[in-house]
Symmetry: C2
Subunit: 283 residues, 2 copies
């Protein structure tokens, strides 16, 4: 299945046919002191710079998260989206747990963004999916529910299937649901990555949908994160992920995403590797 | 299955249980002008340095290839092995297409080395497997035969199965055959990697043997090889390879091998990642 997202001037298709789509993760104040401070001060300079840099480095979508404790979320999210739209036309992935913030963000978005995210909890399904219907967006469905994060790959498939079925029952086409089988830090659960990765082929086979993962979650709190992130994106792509929420400004991660797509047969070496390197070196 | 190899003082077990085993690839004059020149001059200094550096960087075995056009192969191979054994006790992987050279090399080896390699061609099976029997070595079986390199994953499995059966018929235990599903450069065949990688789960399921791959072959002749090699080792490990012929002196490749082992659940994060980083930084 193909997921099409868009801004007023750009259309991006996420699918199994070409190289993996990069969703730039940098516009997220979690763990970023400088960005947090600038957002608190109402200064959008870092946001604008991150937006331009990620788009140049190969992000086809930009994730936008504006969660800063103690700051009005809905208004801040709108300010951040306006700042991003001033400098780039890349389609957006609106990242918030709060349906109220997603709703506010949608007022600032033209085209077809991605809502990040809904999950299998009844409260989330009931609040987020109607926004997807009303605004005809795509949505990331996180494979967790009222019981928490399922332990095994098969349980994650089942949770993902429930989200897809519920979406379809409301008239949301299955192609507009991107499943995230959820990887948390290896500090908390050493086998979390393994089960999430194992679930991807099951999800692809049973549901046919696009699959995403947060590429930097696994390494959270561990030393030498770049090496873990790079290994993880390669394995995620080999397992069947079609888009990754990742940092394209990290050279090792960016290169590994490109190379991995080609190794598993998504795209042509001469066309995509050599041309891409030539274009990279021109910058 | 577990493959045990050894030098007079060190034993290494290749298996699915712990982190992937690195077979250091550097002692190979192909594409290395300086090493080629020094071997031609009978100077073993580069060989000794490469042996020490690779063992320190985490190679559990050292591949030894001494093919220099115009130089007597058997004698040079013996000299190179003696030089390596002067500086390290790491077990060896004797790399030659020539049964005569393998035989000469075995005279210099104590313990249980790996012969790299036999393949499915009748001439190779008939010449190499008797050496494996006589010297009780392990052997790498390359999944190609008189018809060349099989195109599909299933065909590679069949070729590997024939090598394993033939070995068993001569009394070589199956655990001593390590299958190499063979990856050539992406310049020649863009899909070669994909079929080889796909064959690994089949080989593991049907034959139960250890699987190796040459980690630097795919990128041969392409720009920016490190990025391709690193992505490739991650995907090879995720596919089920248990040992890799790779360059541990390449930081990105070395780190990716470690991280990938942990991501797929071979080894423990706190034990292997954090301790390994601490030891690395002490050096």
């Amino acid at each position: 299945l193909k997921t099409t997202v868009s801004s007023p001037t750009q259309t991006v298709t996420i699918s199994r046919d070409g190289p993996v789509t990069i969703i730039g993760e940098r516009i997220n104040p979690s763990g970023r002191k400088r960005l947090t401070a600038s957002l608190k001060a109402g200064n959008m300079e870092v946001v604008r710079r991150d937006a331009v840099a990620q788009a140049r480095a190969g992000a086809s979508l930009l994730d936008v998260n504006a969660y800063v404790p103690g700051v009005g979320q809905a208004v801040l999210m709108q300010q951040v989206i306006r700042a991003v739209r001033e400098v780039t036309d890349v389609p957006l992935c609106i990242d918030s747990h709060s349906p109220r913030v997603l709703k506010a963000a949608l007022r600032e978005c033209q085209g077809k963004p991605v809502l990040n995210s809904v999950n299998g909890k009844e409260r989330s399904l009931a609040a987020v999916l109607p926004l997807v219907v009303e605004h005809r967006t795509a949505v990331i469905g996180m494979a967790m529910d009222d019981e928490g994060l399922p332990e095994t790959a098969v349980q994650r498939l089942r949770t993902a299937a429930r989200i897809v079925e519920r979406a379809e029952s409301l008239g949301i086409p299955r192609r507009d649901v991107i499943v995230d089988p959820v990887v948390l830090t290896a500090r908390l659960d050493a086998l979390a990555a393994r089960e999430a990765l194992k679930s991807i082929p099951l999800i692809v086979r049973e549901l046919g949908v696009n699959v995403t993962l947060g590429a930097s979650n696994l390494s959270h709190g561990l030393p030498h994160r770049t090496a873990i992130n790079a290994a993880f994106v390669a394995i995620a792509i080999a397992s069947g992920a079609t888009c990754l929420i990742a940092n394209p400004l990290d050279r090792q991660v960016r290169e590994t995403i490109r190379a991995s797509s080609l190794i598993v047969g998504r795209g042509e070496w001469t066309l995509h590797w050599i041309d891409w390197l030539c274009r990279s070196s021109e910058r």
